[in-house]
């Protein structure tokens, strides 16, 4: 059984009486430990797919199973719990809380998980060591560079030991070099057996992952963009 199973998932919005199918009958399986990218131009429905994969939203139709649990029928509180324990989010704009320092930002998911103070500090420290930021624990986000901020965000995503890391354009706001380092970090995490899902519109970034899913007009494309084919060099860093 796959870690994530989507069966005929649709998301339908109603805008002024008009029906918009952001996702239209998407079915796909993602196994545990996969390093995968979801690619598509803006408006293709990849964001909607990411929201559903990340349990931020429920589908209008179809079935989503995460670890055997039916997400489409879960309550908001259950979804919050799944987001907290099973999924780690990394955002394009880092989304660190500006009034909290690095450690406090990393501790935040553990606070929502109800983990005690000492264990929180220990785990936050470990996660920050992993992203090589254990020397900046007291800094505020605005005192860090973009790459550092994204590493803090990754540490925050990792700290509850989630099965899935869901990254939405994680390099979109970084220069190429820093982006590479971040991608290397994701690859490292994937190598450790974590499921990493990168959502991007950039084929060069998608090229990093062994498996790619292309979304077009709310559907999984039959054929992957030929531009991606040439870049498909497993275990290689994206070419600039």
């Amino acid at each position: 059984m796959a870690l994530l199973e989507l069966r005929n998932v649709s998301k339908i919005y109603h805008l002024g009486g008009e029906e918009i199918r952001a996702l239209d009958g998407v079915s796909l399986d993602i196994d545990g430990g996969e390093f995968i990218s979801i690619i598509g131009p803006s408006g293709s429905g990849k964001s909607t797919l990411m929201h559903i994969l990340g349990c931020l939203d429920s589908p209008s139709k179809g079935e989503v199973r995460l670890d055997g649990m039916d997400i489409s029928k879960a309550s908001t509180a259950q979804l919050a719990r799944v987001r907290n324990r099973t999924i780690g989010f990394v955002f394009q704009f880092f989304n660190l809380l500006p009034k909290l320092n690095v450690t406090q930002n990393v501790e935040l998911p553990m606070i929502y998980a109800g983990i005690g103070g000492r264990e929180r500090r220990e785990r936050a420290h470990k996660a920050l060591e992993l992203v090589e930021l254990s020397h900046r624990t007291k800094s505020r986000p605005n005192q860090l560079s973009g790459g550092q901020q994204q590493r803090v965000a990754i540490a925050r995503a990792l700290v509850n030991d989630p099965k899935i890391i869901l990254a939405d354009e994680p390099t979109g706001n970084l220069d190429t070099h820093t982006g590479e380092l971040i991608l290397a970090l994701f690859r490292h995490l994937a190598a450790q057996g974590r499921t990493v899902i990168l959502v991007t519109h950039n084929p060069e970034i998608a090229a990093v992952t062994p498996r790619r899913i292309e979304i077009r007009n709310g559907k999984v494309a039959e054929r992957v963009d030929e531009r991606l084919a040439g870049l498909d060099r497993p275990n290689a860093v994206a070419v600039h």
Partner: protein, 456 residues
Amino acid sequence: MNLLNTILIGLKEIWAHKFRSILTMFGIVLGVASLVGMSAIVKGMENGMRESMIAMGGADRVVLEQQPVPSIQDHLADQAPGRTMRDVLALRRSAPMVRAVSPQMSIEEPTVTHGQKTADVWECAGVWNDVLEMNLHQLEYGRFFNDIDEENASPVCVIGVGVRDQLFGSPEELGYEVVPIGEEITINGQSFTIVGMFTRYMSEQEAKERQIAKASAGQAKDSSAQTGPKRRKGWGGRGGWAFTRKNMSLYIPLNTAWVRFRAAGDANGIPDPRLSNIEIKVRDLTKLEASLQQARNVLLITHNGIEDFNFRTQENQIESINKQIKNARLSGGIIAGISLLVGGIGIMNIMLASINERIREIGTCKALGATGIAIFTQIVVESVVLSVLGALAGLVASAGLVDILAFISPTGNSPVITWEARAVAMVFSAGVGIVAGLFPAIKAARLSPIQALRYE
């Protein structure tokens, strides 16, 4: 979700917008200060009223009044005996629910002199020793009357300190205290020996002022002393009245009053036996009605069934005092409540602005696994932290406010800040904080994570 963390994050949020938070808190500061200040003033009034109440003999004092016979007994009016010693003795013997009976035979408009000086005595009466308990008198110098004085109708008297001030001079004028025990004074031309003097009765406020005056007397004996009559202080002047009345009293033994001042109105060689006043105290104030009924039954026998008497309790007065206190409390409470409410609206406003600024943050928190309840708690806690900080500042401000009020308003009853008032103000403003936070918190908790994350 632990509360300490929530509070900490709330404090950070407030600290991040210091100026805005302080402005918001100001509403609560004013509300709490006015609530505590108001209650302090009311408490001061209450203290003043209670003092004068006690000065007048306390709540359990009942006056046995003379009254015209009821119309149904009109034909018996000429047989009405009036209040006599028979009543007093009967009450003492047969009304166990009555604790003390104090007969009084007043000398109306007495002329009390010593040498060239005349005293303006408010109450001059022949009494039994029960009067001490009845009017809560305290003897400071000398003694009260004994059985021999009573039996022999001795020409002795006990005076209030005000009478001494007028006849012998007050310590303030002389610089030393005269103890006129053994001095002779005249009452309506008859010579009396002073055997005792009461202590000075005064309100707490006056006691304080006297102490201050005493302390500063040594340093400043200049001519800046006040000229003209002193401004009367005290709640409605009433407290002052009660204390003056007590200080200006002069007592002689009951028998002395009867033999020496009532002989003119005699019949068959017996002086007029009617008393001018009988006052009783009941044993248990909670059983006032029953006690008075018992006394009434006894008196109906001594009065041959003629109801030419009535009881006047202090109950009515206590009731009116309580009503006034209640009114003052209510109006003060409403004003303070309104200002707290305004403060609460300010907090709600700022919380709404705050969550609008933080929609993306809230979205992030939700993506990280914050439940609606966690977000809700966070916002409510922030709002409560704001209001409680404001309340604490308000408590500090209230102390200053009360000082200013005490300074500018010449109420004789200085405002008293009570811990109850502080506690009520704290709890109330925390409540205002909760209520003010509810709506923004619900709004924040209900945000959809996607829309919140996408919000620009």
